[in-house]
Symmetry: C5
């Protein structure tokens, strides 16, 4: 689905142009064409391939989708794949994708499976013509920056999820819940890492050493995006590492609680075993058991039994078993 197809000159909007005129405008060196698609069909992409002269393999990738994040050079163009992340209502991560083709004087983006749009990026770019004048590199940066900026609230929510789990990790009886949430969190972190880590490597090549011509003027901007990704990646690594430790801690807590239950069991068992042993003794049928005939035999026996029980109870209590 075509969303926008606009030609610019000197950073200013020239006109919304029909798709079939794209190649004419791209041929004019002073023009800049910026096209936005959404869930483009095979045919739409083929038209774009012809109009912009895109490389077959890149178009194929865009068509099939589900690429890993990457930035590839084809001649003087760049083909970039970024993942768009959204936290769904059921607390799962939805992964969309945006494919960006950037050539000397054009940018074509195709967004798939995501509800996030880039209208704000275009609006801001049109408001500040001196930025658009910098050409395709800057637009590529602006789109990337928009995608990456949307990673931050997600990584924040992962962090706060971890903190919530941590608050409960030492609380008795919450181990089953904790381990399930840790496992679910781990999965989300893995999903996010797969969106961030390859992109981190790829963007690292857009500043510093040899840089594709399209991006040469915007190196410091790409370094900025790189820096953001680096930070996100660092946080993800910490979360991952912490989840690992938390799972180990969780296991220790399970074992500790089991140990406490065992101790309690042992203590009560001991108390009742003593009671039962006493009762058993005085329940024996020996003829000659003088205490059985005493007047206060029974109350004394009961008293003795309860005293011993109480003594044991106190002792176990002090030992922390009860």
């Amino acid at each position: 689905m075509l969303i926008n197809c606009v030609a610019y000159q000197n950073g200013r909007k020239l006109a919304d142009i029909p798709v079939e005129d794209i190649s004419d405008y791209v041929a004019r060196e002073d023009c800049f064409v910026w096209v936005a698609l959404r869930d483009a069909t095979f045919d739409e992409l083929q038209v774009m391939r012809v109009e912009f002269g895109l490389h077959e393999l890149a178009v194929e990738d865009a068509q099939r989708g589900h690429q890993r994040p990457k930035i590839e050079e084809y001649g003087d163009s760049i083909f970039a794949v970024l993942k768009m992340l959204e936290m769904r209502e059921d607390d799962e991560l939805a992964v969309g994708e945006v494919d960006i083709f950037a050539g000397p004087n054009f940018v074509l983006s195709n967004r798939q499976g995501s509800t996030q749009d880039f209208l704000g990026v275009r609006a801001r770019a049109e408001r500040e013509p001196y930025l658009l004048k910098q050409g395709a590199g800057f637009v590529l940066y602006a789109l990337m920056d928009a995608v990456v900026d949307r990673y931050f609230p997600i990584v924040d929510s992962l962090e706060s999820e971890l903190e919530q789990i941590e608050e409960r990790i030492f609380i008795r009886g919450s181990q089953r819940d904790s381990i399930q949430r840790l496992y679910a969190l781990k999965r989300k972190v893995m999903v996010m890492r797969h969106c961030v880590a390859p992109l981190l490597d790829a963007i690292g090549k857009l500043h510093g050493g040899r840089v594709p011509a399209v991006c040469a003027n915007s190196q410091e901007y790409f370094r900025d995006v790189h820096d953001h990704l680096y930070r996100i990646n660092g946080i993800l690594d910490t979360i991952r590492d912490t989840i690992g430790t938390a799972i180990q801690v969780n296991l220790s807590m399970v074992a500790l609680e089991e140990g406490e239950v065992n101790k309690r069991l042992a203590a009560w068992a001991a108390i009742f075993a003593v009671l039962t042993a006493f009762a058993g003794i005085w329940g024996m049928n020996f003829k000659n058991m003088p205490e059985l005939d005493w007047r206060w035999g029974y109350p004394v026996a009961l008293g003795l039994m309860f005293s011993v029980s109480f003594y044991l109870y106190r002792r176990f209590r002090r030992a922390g078993w009860l």
Copy 2:
């Protein structure tokens, strides 16, 4: 076993040629010879060695089989070993191998221990002569691409196997089953990694920096295969990492369930110990136990015992032990 032995000119099939003519056609610069073998014998490989002028060590490797995936340069030729994977009916991975010799104007492939063939690759290449015109590099790519494309359904099946295990991992009583399946899955992932990881390194040298002459024109195609492998490798890493976590989680679940059984045991033991202690007391043989002579002594005693039991039962229930 010889499958095909065809000479091409300008991307078009010239003729099926007898094996002993290969060297003549290879000597003609405008010709391209593409030979496919299957489970080749020692003698067949020796004939090929002579006809194509292959390097002794490469042929030796091809003969012995069970090489690790690799791409080696011998002068202006390339010797590539790829693993072919099939999921057998008993859910085990069958590993076959294809050895490819690619020189300036020939490609020789020998497939071993696999039921998958490359007829489709040749058919498509013959349908589109402009592709075949690109020569040995393109055919090498096409074969690699065919092999790698067949990795995807396998990696998908590993992923879905993991998902099935994950669905059951928090279910009571499924731990033994889960751990066995996790272990089996881990093994399959390791087998697959051994097919993918070395190839990933090797193909990385077919694009970007210094590239063997045979592959120079097809760099972007090899980058595409590299990209696929990279993606597969990433998924395998994630599965491996997740299996590790799942095994830890499994252990926690085992411990948790054991704890629950222990608690239940403790609770019932406590209830019956109380019952038995009471019964023991009234079973003592003291002369002077007035309640024994009461008319309602027995029912009251029974009532008391069951009240206490019921009270304990309720308490344990509320504490979540029962």
Copy 3:
């Protein structure tokens, strides 16, 4: 908030200058301007941007704060972000930040969220004019050195915390406490690592190979800071590694203690089960149980029961179960 704004000439203080004169002094090649801000507002930073001619992206980073530690070149200037660490009274790590802009003849620092100041650095620099004469690179070094030197007491306190935990790790009954403290320590180490590790990478580029012009004269000083960070990082790695082992050891200790409780439980249960079994036997109602009628039957029975109990007690004791 502006703290100082001073111009120097030949290493000696010229005057406290008003903010709006900064650009004049910076324009004079023989002058050196050193400005210190604290929790600067948006407006203050904008003024500085204009006066010093700073890069927009760097100023944006300084404004937003919460950057990861880094050192970036913008033309002939350097933008450095360092984290300032303080151990709060509640034993948590407070993380502040200092952003430093260093150009050919100026240094601007902005400190955020930290109670530590750099007055000592300036005082020492002014006392020893031959140092200040070395220019911006030396001041940058002096500020970095001050920040990094303050890491040492913190890493020491982490180490001594670890030692305290280690002293108690093999003590019975301290497992729950140990695991909680280990987890808390791990978190602090992770926080500190995030302050140290990226800086370590960044400072590595200020000596040795190609070095930014501002720092060229002070390479050996930066190597010294690098060396300090390297040492701190090594200690943090050791602590991390040791925490990992300690958590495993802790789990083993939990299991060991549980095993000991189990053994004790088993032992006492056995003793009382024997007592009860004996009592049960002599409590049976068979007519013909001659020992019941013996005169010394009861005392002999009691004696037998206690002898057996005592024998078991001794045996368990020797086996280490009691």
Copy 4:
């Protein structure tokens, strides 16, 4: 102990020569001297040092033995240390060593602590003079290849040992045995890795980039050895990784079996506790317990007790506890 000392010319054996003539033959450029020692004494090595003009440090290493595998250049000579592995009868790995000095026209090998010899290598080399003509590089390769080829049966036996353990890992009651065997296997893998990994790094420098002059003609042969080592190393890594997982799995199995024993204990305890409680009740001495006087009281009571027991037994059985 001297084993062979032979001079060759044009790849053909010239003569067995006395040790003191070595330097004369080495001085003749058209000659090639190949000496084999075994467990050489200090004096023998000193003689060799003088005759071949070896470097003092290399000879010292050879004398002391117990070096790590390595390949060092001394001027135009190479000093290589390789480990020889044998599986002893008691299933332990015996580690021997072979030190090889290779100069432009000589090879000296000294084998220590191993029963494996290299007679086959010399025999084959003498059978095929065109190989020996390639000089020291080829002989070095042939010796290395012989050593590395003998690694394969060992790595195979480690793999099959692992498979045997794996077959029993999920079998009840084999955990103690499994863990001991896993630990022993881990040790053997570590020993072998120490023989393989450093050699892998070292041989990597004998092909590809800058290669010592001695080995320049045999690069493709060294790549072949490198490839073998790479494969062995990969297998060792997999075994190591699998052992790690197997140890974790083993722990889970231990916990699972313990849980099963606990459940069985709980079940039987419950059944007998119920029986005992019933018996206790009817063993009370209340006067007014009408059922005691019923004619069928006793059989009915027994019947009731066994019915309840049987009901519990069935229930536990169905729940999988018994």
Copy 5:
């Protein structure tokens, strides 16, 4: 404290010289000055700084001590820090330090906190003047070699400690002891690694690529030291890895033994529960229990009870529970 201060010429001792003459001898190109200090004071180091013209930062490091091992270039001098290790009587590692300044024609060493001296190194060097003639590089090597050689007995003792633990790891009842010793060993390994690993990196730069002028003639010697460190580091890695596995194995053994205790407990509990249940039944007070009146009722009952017990005992025995 000054230990020696000697000037050499042509490798021969010229004279013990007073400290204040050092700068004169250093100024003479044909002389070589070798000074040894021990626990030098601030003043002594300042004197040395002036006499030898050392760099301020290096002297500061030497003064403060507790540096990490490193080798730094300052102009044409080298500043090296090495750790000296001693196994104390209480089985703890004592870490001392030696700081070495090596210039074109001088070496200054300062030893701190260690009882090991270097008199042997000087004695040997003076005995063999041709070695000393090689100058500062060789002396630096000789000191390093002496330090590193003293690592070997320590790493051996760590290895044999590990072996001792391993011998006991599968022995019942030694788990608590094993885990404590493993933890203590781990700590020692970590301490040692911190002495070895940074030095390994640093010495790697003294041979092979660009080498400081001072060390250029002694490259092969430094490679030898590097090789020793590499070996030590490899052994430490293996010990570390093995400790990790041993701790896991230990945990499994704890769990296994617990399981065995549980089984034994279960078995005995079952036997006595059966006994008690039987006794309970015949202790019931039903009127009509004909077996109670039988003449041989009691002995038959006892016989039955013991038969059942014995049967259970045998069965448990065969099942390996007792």
